[in-house]
């Protein structure tokens, strides 16, 4: 059997190194820690108007087998603001994740801003649609 030349071995090792580097760069989760991402959106209910508001937030995984919401945070986006919007999870069967973000505003209220934040693993795109 013909022995491999040194150059061939060097090339094989170099290729392996390159592939490993590529894996480490593009992998969704780092070697030592979990690499989470977040999506943030601020929803504003203008002051001086009595009205119910609702937005739909859709999260579409681009890596479905490795993508899931870890946590959802909804809170006032100002320290001196009491009211904020609430959320509801919407059952889906198409592999997407969906939230309704809704709230009531009254004409005697000032502007109310709500920070909506989803922490998730994997890869996903988000779409926000105003329903009312």
């Amino acid at each position: 059997m013909q022995p491999r030349s040194a150059n061939t071995i060097t090339e094989i090792v170099a290729n392996a190194q390159q592939k490993l580097r590529e894996i480490k760069e593009v992998q969704l989760f780092g070697g030592d820690a979990l690499n989470l991402k977040d999506f943030r959106q601020i929803f504003t209910m203008p002051g001086g108007i009595t009205k119910d508001y609702c937005w739909r937030v859709t999260m579409t995984p681009t890596e479905p087998d490795f993508t899931m919401p870890i946590d959802t945070i909804t809170k006032p986006n100002a320290p001196n603001q009491f009211g904020y919007m609430k959320t509801e999870r919407v059952p889906k069967t198409d592999g997407t994740f969906e939230w309704l973000v809704f709230g009531s505003q009254f004409d005697f209220d000032p502007n109310q801003d709500t920070l909506f934040r989803v922490v998730y693993s994997g890869e996903a795109t988000f779409q926000v649609t105003n329903l009312a």
Partner: protein, 155 residues
């Protein structure tokens, strides 16, 4: 000319890269695998809402949902995302949003509570509706392990 030490060094670097990739991570062994779970049943629990709430004619129901993994390696953290699907017995879905306004008579909320156990996530599903309303609950779960769940009616 390349010496033997160069090859050994290169192989060591390759091995180190592999080890870094395989180092135990915060969650799961190699990476998070998101596994969806739901029973094959049309719904998991049917219940009546009868416990008095804040006003006459309005009642509340609280259901505890415990999510437990079946194959999570010891020491790992269970991540779970659950979506409660509520329907009336005629199949119509229940939502806080009527389509044009917030429903003030029928609404529900989900909060995560301390499960007091490792590798278990627990939630309280609260539902307010007109007294004697009958609903059906189906639980949808996405988790980083194969899971099961149990339901406990708190009232």
């Amino acid at each position: 000319m390349r010496g033997n030490n160069d090859l050994v060094q290169q192989l060591r670097e390759v091995l180190q890269d592999i080890d870094e990739l395989k180092t135990a991570q915060l969650v799961g062994t190699n990476q998070i695998v998101a596994k969806p779970y739901a029973t094959t049943d049309a719904y998991d629990r049917q219940f009546s809402i009868t416990a008095p709430f804040q006003s006459i004619g309005s009642s509340v129901k609280a259901i505890r949902i415990d999510v437990t993994p079946t194959d999570l390696p010891p020491g790992n953290i269970l991540l779970s995302d659950i979506v409660p699907e509520l329907r009336y017995t005629n199949g119509v879905g229940v939502s806080n949003w009527t389509g044009s306004a917030i429903d003030l008579n029928t609404f529900f909320f989900l909060v995560q509570i301390d499960s007091e156990q490792d590798a278990q996530n627990s939630y309280i599903l609260g539902i307010v509706a007109p007294t004697n309303t009958v609903m059906r609950l189906k639980v949808h779960i996405m988790a980083n392990a194969t899971v099961g769940f149990s339901l406990t009616e708190m009232n």
